[in-house]
């Protein structure tokens, strides 16, 4: 029984991962923008499934709640309102292709540069590196949510707060842009 559950967990991770990739490909390839959003939604749900198969139920649920329940709905909202066919005729997307390729290449390079050690180095065997006295608290945490919050609000408080400030910057920027257009 125990053995079976463990293998199911590992297999499920692979299955959800492949499904998430399929969703992503569907999202890029779909002709209609709403279908793209549906593919994106599917990918988000599958990523949540990946988290769940790794026993990270808090992250999985937060993934669905934030991405599937909030952000993708907003995407859908915008896509439904904007007539994308108008832009297709003007060739806006074609103009952007060249710069998009450059951006993707730079992004990939930066990603590999930052996460090289994490992906291929020694660090990949350790999931989360905390100070020993905090790691002890992590071990006694009975729930997933407790473990995540202890990591976030003790050792990684500053990066966490900086991240939220970045989000705030995006929010304020959006308001400023929208206001300027109206005046």
């Amino acid at each position: 029984m125990e053995h079976l559950l463990v293998t199911i967990g590992r297999d499920m991770f692979a299955i959800f991962g492949v499904l998430a990739l399929c969703g992503g490909i569907f999202m890029v390839a779909a002709k209609s923008a709403v279908h793209s959003v549906l593919g994106f939604l599917f990918t988000m749900l599958c990523v949540a499934g990946c988290f769940l198969s790794l026993d990270a139920e808090f992250l999985g649920m937060a993934q669905i709640l934030v991405y599937a329940g909030g952000i993708v709905v907003l995407f859908l909202f915008v896509v439904m309102l904007v007539e994308l066919s108008k832009y297709k005729e003007k060739g806006v997307f074609q103009l952007q292709t060249r710069s998009a390729v450059v951006a993707v290449v730079i992004g990939a390079a930066v990603f590999i540069g930052v996460f090289r050690n994490l992906l291929f180095g020694v660090a990949s065997s350790e999931a989360l590196v905390l100070r020993p006295e905090l790691a002890q608290g992590l071990n006694v945490a009975q729930q997933n949510a407790q473990a995540v919050s202890r990591g976030l609000f003790s050792d990684y408080l500053l990066p966490f707060e900086i991240l939220s400030v970045i989000l705030l910057v995006a929010l304020v920027g959006a308001v400023v842009l929208a206001k300027r257009e109206r005046v």
């Binding site: 029984m1 939604l41 808090f58 709640l65 599937a68 907003l74 859908l76 909202f77």
Partner: protein, 385 residues
């Protein structure tokens, strides 16, 4: 609990799922019936409270006899039953039309998403914190196993339920878009804006009990809140405000009056489901009423004391040694669920619909600051005592 092998786990799971499905399929039709009758009595609508069958056959003879005696035939609780039966028959038998210009795949997908999201939520809802009864040993596979009051004991149950219900909005938005028609699209946009707006205070108001009791597990949270274990008596105030905000947002999330702008029939024909007919429409209908039950379960579990008699953590004044009133019971839980469901119907019959800007004002300018202050108060109480 005795340890179970894989077959037993799966069979028990199946039995519990079927039991909850039966519960849903009994409660939803009864709820629509109750809705007709309650609104019928409040607004003096004659059909729903008087209709009692035809004038032919055995029942017809009975009816004629009772009319002759100057009485409305049939027991008053059964009056209006023919309307209800006709309603369900119509839903099942009506032709299922997909408009020619509609996006077929998404059009079909939308009601499925709605119903799946609404039903999936029940797998984490606990109707009773422990075993309801134990199967006698003479049953082949499940003999000696307890029948629990919940399907699964998810340790982030509250988050799971919030996540799934937030996925439910896709049903409405996609259905509206796929209909390829003006009124559904307007209804769908309204709905998306409304549900996103009200999800914020809804989630924040649920954080109040989570903060006070310190658990994300549905039944743990409910039991801790109602018995008031390690909770200061001041906690009753944030809980009360939280209850008020939660039920208000619950009305908005389920698209009920006074927040039923997505299907405001005087402005938008029938809103997002204008182009739907037959059982596809029935699915949206089913999802809406199931969501009402979910909201009622939540409100009763986290604010009204759940499986115990008294709400808001007042249960601590009744010692556990008192035979019936001091013990948890599934009856108390359903009593509260039905009370809130009745409030749903009551509000629908009495409160007029909000204007769109008023709806947004209520959500963002009143409910959101109120919940934030409330959450802060709860945190203070938790911190100070």
């Amino acid at each position: 609990m005795p340890t179970m092998n894989l077959t037993q786990t799966m069979v028990m799971g199946l039995i519990q799922v079927v039991a909850v499905l039966i519960l849903i399929f009994v409660m939803v039709p009864l709820l629509t019936f109750a809705e007709r009758k309650v609104i019928g009595y409040i607004q003096v609508r004659l059909g729903a409270t008087r209709t009692a069958g035809g004038h032919v056959g055995i029942t017809g003879a009975l009816n004629r006899g009772m009319w002759a005696m100057g009485k409305v035939p049939m027991l008053s609780i059964l009056r209006g039953l023919p309307v209800f039966v006709a309603d369900i028959l119509k839903l099942i038998l009506k032709e299922d039309i997909i408009p020619a210009k509609a996006e077929r795949s998404v059009f079909t997908l939308a009601p499925i998403i709605s119903v799946l999201a609404a039903f999936g939520v029940f797998s984490a809802i606990a109707f009773y914190p422990g075993a309801l009864f134990t199967f006698p040993a003479r049953f082949p596979i499940v003999g000696g196993l307890p029948f629990m009051g919940f399907i699964s004991d998810v340790n982030v149950g509250v988050l799971y339920i919030l996540a799934l219900s937030s996925v439910g909005v896709y049903g409405i938005v996609l259905g509206a878009w796929a209909s390829n028609s003006k009124y559904p699209l307007l209804g769908g946009l309204r709905s998306a804006a409304q549900i996103i707006s009200y999800e914020v205070p809804l989630t924040l108001s649920l954080l109040t009990p989570v903060l006070l009791a310190g658990s994300l597990n549905f039944k743990d949270l409910s039991v801790r809140l109602s018995t008031g274990a390690d909770m200061h008596w001041l906690a009753i105030f944030p809980l009360f405000v939280g209850f008020f905000v939660y039920t208000t947002c619950g009305f908005a999330e389920t698209n009920r009056t006074p927040f039923d702008l997505p299907e405001a029939e005087t402005e938008l024909v029938a809103g997002f489901h204008t182009e739907y007919s037959g059982m596809k429409f029935g699915f949206f209908y089913l999802a809406e009423y199931t969501n009402m039950i979910v909201v009622s379960c939540f409100a009763s579990a986290f604010f009204l004391g759940g499986y115990y008699l008294l709400p808001f953590g007042l249960q601590r004044f009744i010692p556990a040694s008192v035979p019936f009133l001091g013990q948890p019971s599934i009856l108390f839980f359903f009593l509260k669920v039905f009370t809130i469901l009745f409030a749903f119907l009551w509000v629908r019959a009495t409160v007029p619909r909000y204007r769109y800007d008023q709806l947004m004002d209520v959500g963002w300018k009143y409910l959101l600051p109120l919940t934030l202050v409330n959450l802060f108060a709860a945190a203070l109480i938790r911190f100070a005592f």
